[in-house]
């Protein structure tokens, strides 16, 4: 980060610290140069015409035939400008789709981090179970996918150095995938106005080398992973009463469910992603699975967002053969 007294403050540019940053910067500077030229052209034209044709000047003002209307000239200067700017539209759209509908990363492993935004703090949940408030430790070069939800109003996860921003909506999951490429400490801001201490809802993203991150995680002490927490909650909330394979109640088997298409009672099918699992826990009658009675009670208000994320992590970890909790 730039220290307060740094002379760069005047023409400050955000650092480029994620895989998409430099590509966005190229687009930005290409547009700055193009638009700068247009402004310069208009400024020069205004200046020249103002001076040459000021009242009383001896400039040549013989009215030409097309002095008051020249459609070809109008088309001449508007169509090229439009086509030129549509290049920026396409360039921006491609980058945008890369950011929000990202191709699977080369080495395949994506670090899933759960993010819960609540009025005026950020809560992070690492796959290893380590939990952080406002600060987020990441490994350089490691692709990260944030699964974010809010407990109250709309917030927005914004790291200027990574050129990423995504609103965090209450009761729905929004996702954001990026890859830090530079070691260092970067600002985290909440960008969507969320009330009294909106300007205090900030933090730091600390990007370290992978071994340094592993060292930091170990130093956080022995913590149960979300899967282990999820398994414990699976029993304590009585989910296993119906959903364990040996239970007498006719309820869907959750093994290997995550990611599979689920036929619903109303004939449509939906993919069992995190949103489906969350809604099935808190609003079970919203999407009833086909062939099962809608008898599941709603746990709305009993299970917190953080516990739902742990249960989801546990259900996600139930592969085909492993059906009873470890």
């Amino acid at each position: 980060m730039i220290e307060a007294g740094d002379p760069w403050q005047l023409l400050m540019f955000p650092e480029a610290a994620s895989s998409i940053s430099s590509r966005v910067d190229h687009l930005f500077w290409a547009m700055v140069v193009t638009c700068g030229l247009v402004v310069l052209l208009v400024f020069v034209l205004l200046l020249v015409f103002s001076i040459r044709y000021r009242r009383g000047s001896r400039a040549d003002r013989t009215p030409s035939a097309r002095l008051n209307s020249n459609h070809w000239l109008e088309i001449g200067w508007s169509v090229p400008v439009l086509v030129g700017f549509l290049v920026f539209f396409a360039w921006g759209a491609v980058l945008y789709l890369d950011l929000y509908d990202p191709p699977a990363p080369a080495d395949g492993n994506v670090r899933e981090i759960n993010v819960i935004a609540k009025q005026w703090m950020w809560k992070f949940q690492h796959p290893e179970g380590v939990r952080e408030i406002n600060d987020l430790h990441l490994a350089v070069g490691q692709t990260v996918r944030l699964r974010m939800t809010s407990q109250d109003v709309i917030h927005s996860f914004f790291v200027p150095a990574f050129r990423i921003k995504q609103d965090v909506l209450p009761r729905t999951y929004t996702e954001l995938q990026f890859t830090p490429t530079k070691v260092g400490r970067f600002h985290l801001f909440c960008a969507e106005y969320c009330g009294l201490q909106h300007s205090g809802m900030t933090g730091e993203v600390v990007v370290m080398s992978p071994p340094a991150l592993q060292g930091w995680l170990d130093r956080q002490g022995q913590t149960r992973t979300p899967e282990q927490d999820g398994a414990r909650l699976f029993r304590s909330y009585g989910c296993s009463g119906c959903h364990a394979p040996d239970s007498s109640v006719h309820a869907p088997n959750l093994a290997g469910l995550y990611g599979k298409p689920v036929p619903l009672a109303n004939g449509t099918t939906v993919r069992a992603d995190a949103q489906y699992i969350r809604d099935s826990i808190l609003l079970p009658s919203k999407q009833v699975a086909a062939g099962y009675p809608a008898i599941m009670p709603s746990f709305q208000g009993q299970i917190s967002e953080a516990d739902v994320l742990k249960l989801t992590a546990y259900i996600q970890s139930l592969t085909e053969q492993e059906t009873d909790p470890p």
Partner: protein, 537 residues
Amino acid sequence: MSALSRTDAAEPASYLNAGYGLKSWLLTLDHKRIAWLYFISITGFFFLGGAAATLIRLELLTPAGDLLSDNAYNQMFSLHGIVMVWFFLIPSIPTTMGNFLLPLMLGARDMAFPRLNLLSWYVFILGGLFTLTAVVAGGIDTGWTFYTPYSTMFSNGAVLAAATGVFIVGFSSILTGINFIVTTHKMRAPGLTWFRLPLFVWAQYATSVIMVLATPVLSVTLVLLGIERAFGIGIFDPALGGDPVLFEHLFWFYSHPAVYIMLLPAMGVVSECIACFAHKRIFGYKVMAFSILAIALFGFLVWGHHMFVSGQSIYAGVAFSLLSFLVSVPSALKIFNWIATLYKGQIRFDAPMLFALSFIGLFLIGGLTGIFVATLALDVQMHDTYFVVAHFHYVMVGGMVSAYMAGLHFWWPKITGRLYPEMWARVSAIIVFVGFNLTFFPQYILGWAGMPRRYHAYADEFQLLNVFSSAGAGLLAVGYLLPLLYLIWSLRYGARASANPWDARGLEWTVSSPPPVHNFARVPRVEHEAYAYDQPQ
């Protein structure tokens, strides 16, 4: 004002001295006096919004939030937004110059519905009172955007009073819009075909179409918000499966066309000033007229560019981004046509022309940065940062307020019968231009660097540019106070104005300054084209 001119013996009979006393002003049906009622009220709201802006700029001098508490700061930017948008920018040119000049430019004796015109002012004042009670009774801290679920469930400010105030002032907009549309269609003088109308009338017409088509959606959105907050009728409540993004859709369906309500009248004024002070016909009159209508139409198709990172589907984002690029074409056309109007003209640099030229420069920068934030990948970085704040201030303050000043000075002799002090007006135009750029250009850099908007405490490295911005705001305030002083001064001591001090073309310049009560002794016949500057008046 009228009391002042009574003492002047050689006072020609005009609408100003046609009646004295409070009743002749508060119950008037004369569109010219109603324009005065609006002019005084929006000037008051402008300086109220300006005071809030001054406090915000003072607060942002230091990174720590030390001048105002966070709650007070949130109330200040909300007040600045609500008052400036609904009580100054939207009504300003249509209700003052539009009300005063439309019948004069059309050759009519008054608006189609004079009583409706006065009612719209009273509805405007009623809406203002509600909003001001919100300020007193606990303050409003939701910003002018009222996003749910914060505004319905988590804000403890007087959201209901402010929402009711804006709901009521929306009807003032609708009444003005209906009045202008019917007047333009039904009350043109004989011979005044559509393509002989001044572009100012085209701009008022297109603005009124937007007011009529967009404002009702804001009204129903505020009703839904109000009943959710007051009676718990959960419409956008996420607990019931409601969707806050749906509120954003309904809000921005109105609020983007609203920025064209603010912008189009300004374009009309600039067309009049450029043509008059270059003493030359507008270049490409028909293209200029159709560009105004195209902006009004396309303005309704682009609202999704406010929601690129809000959880809106990314494919809808791509569609809205493309449509937003297309909406910039008519604006670009108009800028080039204004420049082409200067070619081979007889250019004078009176104050209205200085303001009009600064409109072209500042609106161009505002428009081009609009294309930046319409570009999907850049908006991810710039959304909700000071880049967006700088963009809309360049278009609103640099564009619309400059044009408002241009129109105010251009038609001041016609409205008051007095000439303003030319030297002081040029000085204030230059101060406004310099102060404006010093205030808002640093915010572009802050925005790209990532300083979020609506922060009352910010990271240390943003301070230097914020200090420049606050200094510029001081200069801008001086630039806006100057006209208040010398214009009021001119009401009493300004030289008396002739019917056509600028040798301009248009029916409003054929009547005396200030015009008689019924505008035209007999309805004028129009034979020649608009902006016939190549023929003597």
